[in-house]
Every structure is written in C-alpha cells, then in structure tokens.
C-alpha cells in the first residue's frame, strides 16, 4: 500500500514514471470494463487510452480517506472514468447498433484445463451482454455489473428514471433469450 500511495502521489505530480506504473497495473482492468460497453475491440482499446488520458489529467481531484481503502477507491475511480468515456463514445455514435461478429483473437487462450470451462462460460456470458443494443447494454452494465442506481443511470444517460427501469427490464428479457440460445448451441455441439 505504501508503494501504491507513493505511485498515486507521483501521478498527482504528473510524474510519467508513476503514470506508467498505474497504466500497466490497471490496463487489463480498464480494458475489460470498457469492452463490456464498446462492441468493437479496436475501438475499446482507443477508448481505454482516452480514459487514461482523462484520468491522468484530473488525477489531482482523486481523494481518498483510508490508505487501506486506497486501491479499492482508485479502482472505483478508474472504472467510473472508463465507463463515462465509453458512454461518451457510444453517444458520439448516437447509440447506433454495431454489426459484425467478435473475432476470436480478442479472447485470451488459457492453458489451465480446470479453469477453461469456467472461462468459456464467462466469455459466452459477456458475448451475450455485448449482443444487446447499445442503450440496453449500457443500462444493464451500469445497473447489474457496476452497481449504479437508476437515478445515476438516468442522470448519466439524460433520460428519466422510468426509462432506465424499463430499459433494464427489456435488456434482461433480451439477455435471457440470448443465453437460452447459447445453451441450446452448447447442447447441440455436445
């Protein structure tokens, strides 16, 4: 934690050495967060880098209370910035649904056979989430995965709380349909 505290202080001072440490340490976490929102892998890496630019530009506004909670608070702050950057990107594209499949090279291949099944399941679930239309995907990710309230979602997306709730409900129904299709595909392949 002392190391992390020094790194954070170094980032506040705009020291590139410490900024690189933060980047390398949390790049995977940031990319996984952004990739849940942004459909195209290459766009997700660009958005992630945009998010880190914003992060380092405003590092001085990062506040913490307990040193023990520093990493948790830092990761929460990074996630919030990445989510906002991803939503800005989707808004620029006017929430237009994406087309095309997800290429296999975006997935990490694991050698550990014990974890392989579990990771395949996680991968399939994430693919189902990514198949949702952009607005559904955002609301579902923000509410279910990232723990935002409907008020926060409505404020971010600039629509009503009622709209957020109804969008979530439709997203859940559609996601369930996708999951059922995936289950059927798995059974068929077996």
């Amino acid at each position: 934690m002392d190391d992390l505290l020094n790194i954070v202080k170094g980032c506040i001072s705009n020291d590139h050495k410490y900024q690189k440490m933060i980047y390398e340490k949390y790049r995977g976490f940031a990319l996984k967060t952004v990739f849940r929102y942004i459909y195209i892998y290459e766009r997700a890496t660009d958005v992630m880098n945009d998010g880190f630019v914003k992060l380092f530009q405003h590092f001085s506004s990062f506040k913490w209370q307990e040193v023990d909670d520093l990493e948790k608070m830092l990761m929460g702050w990074i996630r919030r910035i990445m989510i906002n950057t991803a939503i800005d990107e989707l808004r620029k594209a006017k929430m237009v649904p994406e087309i095309g499949g997800i290429p296999e090279y975006v997935w990490e291949v694991t050698d550990n056979s014990q974890q392989a099944d579990q990771l395949m399941l996680y991968k399939d679930l994430i693919i189902c989430i990514k198949r949702l239309p952009p607005q559904y995907r955002v609301v579902f990710n923000m509410y279910v995965i990232d723990g935002y309230s409907h008020y926060e979602i409505a404020d971010t997306m600039q629509f009503s709380v009622g709209n957020s709730k109804s969008t979530l409900s439709r997203a859940r129904a559609l996601l369930q349909k996708f999951i059922k299709q995936e289950e059927g595909a798995i059974v068929w392949s077996l």
């Binding site: 390398e24 790049r27 380092f56 530009q57 237009v96 291949v109 679930l125 995965i145």
Partner: protein, 424 residues
C-alpha cells in the same frame, strides 16, 4: 420466460471481472506522447433537442391557422343567416321594411314612403332553388333582394302546430329594371325564428309599381361552393430508389389529409402520414460515416437492402386548373418534412475477402424539416354533396440526404384519397 434472478446477476458480475480478454500490447508510448501535449478537453456540446419543440409549435400553429379559418368561415355563415339587410349601391332601389303579424298570415309591407298591405293569399310559392341572396349590414333601411325559392308558408298549406315560417330569400331589382348590383355571390337562407325581434322578410308578389320583383336564376356550381376546410384519408403505394439505381420493393404511406380552400382555384394542404420507404443501393452510394465506428475495421459494404419507417408531414399548394361540374384537374407543389422512426438495413459486407450478410436495425427520433420536394397532378371527382374522390400521382425529390447511409432517395407513387368538405 422467467426474468434473470440474483444468482444470475452474481454470475454475470463474476464473468465481468474474470472473463478471458486478450489485453494486447502496451500502448504507453503513444499515451505518453499525448500526455506530454497540452491537454485540451473537448467540450461535449449539450444541445437541447429543439426539434421536438419545433415540431410541436409547427403542429400547433398549423392547427390554429386552419381552425381559425374554419371558425371564421362558419361564423361568417352564421352572421349571414342572422342578419338580413344591406343598403343597395343603387339609389333607385327602394329600401323596404316588412313586418309580419305573427298571429295571422297577413303581411304588412312598409316601404320608405308608404305602407302596403298584402294578404297572405298573394304569397307565391316558387320551385326554383334559391341561389343568391343579399349580405347584411344592419342598415336601417335595407334592400330586400328577392329570388325565387320555395317557401313553406304558402297559403293553403298546413303547417305543423307551433312552427313558424321557415326559410326565405330575396333578390330585388331596381326601378329601372336592372339587377341590383349589390347582389353578392354568396347564398344563404333566412330563418324567421331568428328574427323575431326584427322585421320579417317574406317572399311575396307585390303589385307595386315602385318595386319590381323578378326572379333571378343563378347557376350553381357544386365544386365552386366548397370553400373552406376539408379533411380526408389518403394513401397509396410508393416506389423508392437511390439515385438512378434499381427499385427493389414497394413501400407505402397512409394517413390524414387536411386542407383549406381559399377560392375556386387555390387551396393549401397538409396532414400527417405514416410511411415505409424500401430501397436498394450498391455500397459505393452508401456513406459509412455514421456507422464506421460500429463495424470491424476494414469491413466494406457491398450492397444494402433497406427500409425506413417515418412520419410524413406534407405542406403543399394546390391549384385547380380545369374545373367541371362534377370534377376537376389540379396540380400541387410543396415540401415534405419527416420524423424518422426506424431503419432496418440488410448489408452484404466483405471483410478480408470474406463476404457475409449482416443486419442493422436503428431506432431513430430524428426530425428533418423540408426533407423532400413534392410535385403532383391529379383528378378529383365529386361523389356526393361534400365528398370527393381523388387520384394523384406524385414525385418526391430529395432536398437532403437521409438515413444511416446519407443517401438521396427519390420516390414516386400514387395517392388515393376520400375527402369531405366542411365549407359552404
């Protein structure tokens, strides 16, 4: 289908944290270069969507204008029904006031300089339809204009108990025998029950050399008398194409037509319609600018087969260039505005030499003012007193590019309408 439960949510949260994503190579050098530059945060313009407000104001103004014209027209008709007199422009016309003894059928006629009494037995019943009458100005000494018309209080006829004299109209001539120049083109019928406080004008034959009453027959024109508001239902098939490419499938539009006729030649029309345009385009005519970020890098569009749903709001001027008793020929010109609702495109795409079919569905709430120029010509035929049938081929020329592919879509079709008039 049961909704996703909390266990499923927990599983999804674990999946989101641990799913196997290829993190790729570190991009620190590029990031460092960006951080070394002076940071300039791009401002996200918070624009209110004024389009909805504009559409609402536009619809409200249109409603107020058409409603006001309709009200004015109806109110003017009521005025003409209630008042009966105007001063003649000809000095030779004798202004006359008539009074009716409500207890009897005898009629007392009073002119400017003498009183004439006339028995009801002298009342004349005419079978010629009423066409032209006077306008009223409330002058003290009105000019009574008499025209032949059926009256219901002719002598010898039994009237239902309690019913007073019904309808009357007049056209008068001046002393020299010429036609009163104050005769207007509008026609109305007086209702005596409305004028109990006023002298009643009755149709009669007066053997009075000072006044010659001569029936005037006026040709009526059903179409010409339809001034005022009209409403109808219209719809028809529509063919759309992108530029000069092939036409793929047939679309349609259907809706409500509103119009106001100013005179025998000119009308203004608007309305609201729901429509679906269906089109086909080769990839080179489909702009990728709106959807490039939603497609894998390097993907090309070979062709697109799409359809879009929209609300159409036309605003056109109609000119009747040839009119007959029961029909007319016309042409119209104007603009069409759209509220785009949804677009569904089937793409044939190519990526790394491999062709695939993809589908994109886009929900839109996009308003485009004066999106197309519309010109048409057509034929109208009267079916009844106030009902007309219309057939109208049209052509729409795009003034703006539309859709996800920013394409120029030309449309042609035929409108078939049934219209009811509320004018006189």
């Amino acid at each position: 289908m049961e909704p996703l439960d909390h266990d499923m949510d927990d599983l999804l949260r674990k999946a989101a944290a641990d799913y196997p994503l290829n993190e790729g190579e570190s991009d620190w050098d590029k990031l460092s270069a960006r951080l070394s530059e002076i940071p300039v945060e791009p401002e996200v313009a918070q624009r209110k969507n004024f389009r909805y407000y504009f559409l609402l104001i536009f619809a409200l103004v249109l409603f107020l204008v058409l409603g006001g014209l309709f009200y004015y027209d109806r109110h003017r008709n009521e005025l003409m029904n209630e008042t009966k007199y105007t001063r003649s422009t000809s000095d030779s016309i004798q202004a006359q006031v008539f009074e009716k003894n409500s207890n009897k059928n005898d009629i007392t006629v009073q002119s400017n300089d003498k009183i004439i009494s006339q028995k009801s037995t002298d009342l004349v019943e005419s079978k010629v339809p009423i066409r032209r009458i006077i306008q009223s100005s409330g002058d003290k000494f009105p000019t009574i204009v008499k025209s032949p018309g059926s009256i219901k209080n002719s002598p010898g006829k039994e009237r239902p108990p309690g019913e007073t004299t019904d309808y009357f109209s007049f056209i008068a001539e001046n002393k020299s025998g010429g036609t009163d120049k104050a005769i207007t083109e509008s026609a109305y019928v007086l209702k005596s029950s409305r004028v109990k406080a006023l002298p009643v004008i009755l149709q009669y034959a007066i053997p009075e050399p000072a006044l010659r009453l001569t029936p005037i027959r006026i040709q009526s024109n059903h179409l010409q008398s339809q001034k005022g508001l009209y409403i109808g239902f219209n719809g028809g098939p529509e063919l759309s194409k992108v530029g000069s490419q092939t036409i793929a499938r047939t679309g349609y539009h259907v809706g409500v037509l509103l119009g106001y006729r100013f005179n025998t030649k000119l009308s203004v029309e608007s309305g609201i319609m729901v429509g679906k345009k269906k089109y086909y385009s080769m990839g080179e005519f489909f702009s990728m600018s709106k959807i490039a970020s939603t497609m894998p890098l390097g993907m090309e569009i070979v062709n697109v087969d799409g359809q879009s749903s929209q609300l159409e709001i036309p605003l056109t001027l109609k000119y009747d260039f040839l009119q007959r008793t029961q029909s007319r020929f016309f042409f119209t010109a104007g603009v069409v505005s759209y509220v785009y609702l949804q677009e569904k495109n089937h793409y044939q795409t190519k990526l790394n030499g491999v062709e695939e079919n993809q589908m994109g569905m886009y929900k839109e709430d996009h308003f485009s003012l004066t999106s197309e120029l519309q010109i048409s010509g057509g034929y109208e035929h009267t079916l009844g007193k106030s009902v007309r049938f219309r057939i109208e081929p049209y052509k729409k020329i795009p003034l703006k590019k539309s859709g996800m592919g920013s394409m120029s879509v030309f449309s042609s079709g035929v409108n078939i309408a049934l219209i009811r008039s509320f004018g006189k």
